[in-house]
Symmetry: C2
């Protein structure tokens, strides 16, 4: 007996959702790269967080959040790191997260996506609603980064290029 | 024979994807409402479009795009309307789109989501990748609206409240 689903009958398969997430993460990586070093850590609009701070939130969510879902080990939401305000450090952490996600994903069986969970000890949902929240939250903050870049006179990467 | 899938075995069911989309559309509606009438049509940052213009793009995509997917009738991408620069008109169009989506959705059979299509005569993908693009594009532009609101000193609606 196989738990695989025929892709022809599902809205989106687990493999497709991974590609969807990593595709979005590729775009976000290009947005981080597009910021000048200084403005990445200093620039913001309307009292909002810098794009570096938003990026750290995304890094703090993705790897630890997926690890919690897959392994059941409780995750703590840590959004402040100390990358010495270096873009290269943020990008290295981003790439490490990319590997972590790829390693964890195959351990997530199809039967798990509808399971009820509490992410980071706080956020009730299902595995699927939690994963879509992670992705949507990234798109949301990255859209904000686009405004920062435009405001700095920098053309952001193409949204549709994954 | 039923084409329904047990929800326990899928990443996301068609009904869940509809709720996901409409949940996001509820948030976007609150962002439109949060703008003062004048700034909705006049304010932008870094040479970007106003939130009214972004909203018209979203309205131009959602209803016509889904109608094309469901019926096969070719859609044209129209992003400029003439709502006389009234917020009430934009909101009325938004609500009409909400109804249109709810009416069309049940006609989208589960077998269709993996079908290859060309949306608006231009954008190649599958039904699922196209629908996620519609949703993600909305989240992206709404995130930009959040920066506009913050820049205007207005607290945006909660992202997590659908």
């Amino acid at each position: 007996m196989s738990t695989d689903l025929k892709v022809a009958e599902v809205v989106i398969s687990p493999a497709q959702l991974l590609a969807h997430w990593q595709g979005h993460r590729n775009v976000t990586r290009r947005v981080i790269e597009a910021f000048p070093e200084k403005e990445l850590f200093n620039f913001s609009i309307g009292g909002m967080r810098t794009f570096a701070e938003l990026t750290m939130e995304l890094i703090g969510i993705a790897g630890p959040g997926l690890n919690e879902i897959v392994t059941g080990e409780k995750a703590e939401l840590v959004e402040k790191f100390n990358p010495e305000n270096k873009k290269a450090n943020l990008l290295a952490m981003w790439d490490q997260t990319t590997k972590t996600i790829n390693e964890l994903w195959p351990k997530l069986t199809p039967a798990r996506f509808q399971e009820s969970i509490i992410a980071f000890g706080m956020y009730e949902g299902t595995v699927q609603s939690t994963l879509f929240y992670f992705i949507d939250n990234e798109i949301h903050h990255r859209g904000q980064g686009y405004v920062y870049l435009r405001s700095l006179g920098i053309a952001p990467p193409f949204f549709y290029e994954r």
